[in-house]
């Protein structure tokens, strides 16, 4: 139940990719027949991604994933002396990049969020400066699933004549995306968060937005991203985009929402002193971030993993240890609540049986953790055990 971390490649996606390993093995930049075949596959995929985002195919740049999309957006449009506005709950791909930009003489303003995890567009407006070049605000938060008011922020950017980038990695496939309605110039998505393989993503770059590439080399991707196309990945992303778009009308997104709602409501009713992080804010349909008080999220994850249930908390640092979530901290959660929080996130592969498994394991595990935490010292093992 950690689909916001990654999702399995769907069978349809795998089947679409298979020819790339067997028959369609050309270099999409080659002139000959095999190259043309590969090129055609890339462009078909580009059409599918464009359809998912509501943009023109020429505005889609394939990347290696969400981080590359975010980095390209931030580094690609800013110069020393510029000012950018971003938020405290962004993914590290944006926050770390903003930090690096700061060391390269780009001014950075980071706006906060309210207790629901929502950014106030008014704060963005107030942060505007004459030299503001870019606003980067995520569409959906990876930890809480809270959807940000990107359309309002898009209007503010438009009025101010400022570029707007949104990290839509956690929104793609979960809620409809329309780059025109959002009014963004740049939008990044990642394949493996939407049932395509790891190592592929896309960046929407609106027509007329001048972008310095991150990678220099050949003339691939209309000189916006050099490097031989990742043909299987691109084809996989295309298929996943097609399925994601269909998911909004074929009931699969609503099925996930129903699963999530049942899981969340039953957990909250079975575990006392618990609640939803991000309550009262619009959320993507697959994510549930809960605080189960008096429980260490870290211990809960390990205990559940040992029983076969994968959940998540916070963000992992380089060693793999859990660090306090910067998102929950920005929402004003007390450290003990932030530590007692964890995330359940579902995907197209999730089933009622998964929900039953979680409902069977989480309450009893929480009960044991709560029992052990404060009192364990008073119960030495019986002598001679």
């Amino acid at each position: 139940m950690d689909s916001n971390a990654t999702t399995p490649v769907l069978p349809e996606v795998r089947d679409a990719m298979r020819p790339c390993f067997e028959e369609v093995f050309g270099n999409a930049s080659s002139i000959h027949y095999f190259g043309r075949q590969a090129r055609a596959a890339v462009e078909r995929a580009r059409d599918c991604v464009a359809a998912l985002l509501g943009c023109r195919a020429a505005e889609v740049v394939f990347t290696s994933g969400g981080t590359e999309g975010d980095d390209t957006a931030l580094f690609g449009v800013t110069r020393p002396g510029d000012h950018i506005i971003t938020s405290a709950i962004e993914h590290e791909a944006v926050l770390k990049s903003a930090h690096v930009l700061e060391s390269r003489c780009v001014e950075v303003t980071i706006v906060g969020v309210d207790a629901r995890g929502l950014i106030d567009p008014g704060d963005i407006r107030k942060a505007l400066r004459p030299n503001t070049r870019l606003i980067s605000v995520m569409m959906a938060n990876n930890e809480t699933g809270v959807l940000q008011p990107v359309e309002e922020i898009g209007r503010i950017a438009q009025e101010a004549g400022v570029l707007f980038h949104t990290d839509a990695v956690q929104a793609a496939g979960k809620v409809p995306i329309d780059v025109k309605a959002i009014g963004c110039h740049l939008l990044s998505i990642s394949g493996h968060k939407m049932h395509a393989p790891q190592g592929i993503g896309a960046l929407f770059v609106s027509k007329g937005t001048l972008l310095q590439p991150l990678l220099y080399g050949g003339n691939h991707e209309r000189r916006r991203r050099a490097g031989t196309e990742n043909l299987p990945g691109i084809v996989g992303l295309g298929k996943a985009a097609e399925l994601a778009l269909a998911g909004f009308t074929d009931g699969s997104v609503e099925r996930i929402r129903a699963l999530r709602d049942r899981l969340e409501q039953d957990l909250l009713s079975q575990v006392d002193e618990s609640g939803v992080n991000g309550l009262g804010a619009p959320r993507v349909p697959n994510t549930s971030n809960l605080h189960l008080d008096h429980v260490e999220g870290e211990a809960l994850i390990i205990a559940l993993d040992l029983k076969g249930l994968a959940i998540s908390t916070g963000a992992a640092c380089s060693s793999g240890a859990v660090e306090p979530s910067h998102v929950l901290t920005a929402m004003g959660l007390k450290p003990e609540h932030a530590r007692a929080s964890f995330r359940l996130s579902l995907g197209k592969h999730s089933t009622e049986a998964d929900i039953d498994l979680a409902l069977g394991l989480v309450p009893e595990t929480v009960a044991r953790l709560r029992e052990l935490s404060p009192v364990y010292k008073k119960q030495p093992l019986a002598a001679g055990r």
Binding site: I302, A303, D305, L306, C317, S319, L372, Q379, P380
Partner: protein, 375 residues
């Protein structure tokens, strides 16, 4: 006596990425236990990088990326679940802060004992129990077993006396001892390295032992204190003052009491005919007392914040061997209570450089009777 080990129970192994704890995990796995590997993330080694005198990248130290990488590879080789648990906050509060303030008060701390008491055998044991492991196993060289007659858990020196780590473990409570396994207690270091090779951990078998304090790169604690306080936005308190003799004669000045340790000879900045040693650090007066080597000898010491292991309490004076620093050859002494939580230990022969802040551990043969902190 027995160690209470049940077959095929779930055991959490505290894994550091070194050869000792890795071998423990391999041995328990081979014995058929369900083994879960845990590494504590205690200190961000890069946190103080960039401060004056602190290295940019620290290699091969506790909590370094390299050690976690090694531990994770061992867990993968052994096919056991492995997790890194974050206890940085607690480590800073219970180990690093006290370490700094002890030095600034003129004492010489041992952070390893604090870490064992507050982190390894407390927090990690809690995590272990929460994830379904009733016991924790570590790569310490020590032995523990339950004595039916006394109805107590006993902590004993290991078979390999050269590797004895009981000095750092005297603070373990009965409960902690009952839930801890020291599988290397009967083994010598060469045997452990041989076991590691046999279990397929070839690279680790050659890994050198760690020696210094894990969060103090290169062992330069003065630079660490400077860098830590700067990182906290705090100024180094001025603890400079006089250097005096036992008779009160001022022989010079010093730059701060935290630069000195009892028994220290070098770097006193005072030139006299005879070699001078630090005899005492008077934290309240910011004075460093110096004198000749013969004046370093103490006939007795006071020990506080006690923990008793083989006895429930000290009811009557007892003959023990007393160890007053890690590399100290235990010395015969008689211990008796001198206050509610204070022992007076009188040595048979006066001991050199009894150092406040260090632990005093009392032995009866191989058994740890108890211990405390030298006042």
């Amino acid at each position: 006596m027995r160690n209470g080990l049940q077959k095929s129970e779930t055991i959490a192994v505290a894994m550091s990425g070194g050869v000792d704890s890795s071998t423990v995990a391999a041995m328990l796995r081979a014995d058929g236990h369900t083994v879960v590997g845990l590494t504590m993330q205690l200190w961000n080694q890069r946190r103080l990088s960039g401060h004056e005198g602190m290295p940019e990248q620290v290699q091969g130290r506790c909590c370094s990326i390299d050690d976690v990488y090694d531990a994770r590879r061992v867990a993968e080789t052994l096919d056991i679940p492995y997790y890194v648990v974050n206890h940085e906050e607690r480590f800073e509060r219970d180990v690093v802060r006290p370490f700094v303030s002890e030095y600034l008060s003129g004492r010489t701390p041992i952070p390893c004992s604090l870490c064992n008491n507050h982190l390894k055998f407390d927090q990690l044991l809690i995590v272990a129990r929460q994830i379904g492991a009733d016991r924790i196993a570590t790569g310490h060289y020590a032995r523990n077993e339950f004595c039916e007659r006394r109805q107590r858990w006993i902590l004993k020196r290991p078979a390999d006396k050269a590797k004895d780590q009981t000095y750092f473990l005297f603070g373990l409570t009965q409960d902690q001892l009952s839930r801890t396994m020291f599988p290397l207690g009967e083994m010598s270091k060469p045997e452990v390295r041989e076991q590691a090779r046999q279990k397929g951990l070839n690279v680790l078998a050659e890994k050198p032992d760690s020696q210094e304090i894990c969060f103090v790169p290169g062992g330069d604690y003065k630079r660490f204190i400077d860098a830590y306080l700067a990182d906290q936005g705090e100024a180094l308190p001025d603890t400079s003052g006089e250097m005096v003799t036992t008779s009160g004669e001022v022989v010079g000045r010093h730059g701060g009491i935290h630069n000195f340790t009892v028994g220290q000879r070098k770097g006193l900045g005072v030139a006299t005919g005879n070699p001078l040693y630090v005899l005492e650090i008077r934290g309240d007066k910011r004075q460093v007392v110096v004198g000749g080597g013969d004046e370093l000898l103490s006939p007795s010491m006071r020990v506080k914040k006690l923990n008793w292991v083989s006895v429930p309490a000290l009811d009557a004076p007892m003959r023990v061997q007393s160890k007053i620093r890690h590399r100290h050859e235990p010395a015969w002494a008689t211990i008796e209570m001198a206050g509610p939580d204070e022992v007076l230990a009188t040595f048979d022969a006066p001991q050199r450089a009894v150092t406040p802040g260090q632990a005093a551990v009392f032995y009866d043969g191989d058994e740890v009777v108890g211990g405390g902190w030298i006042a």
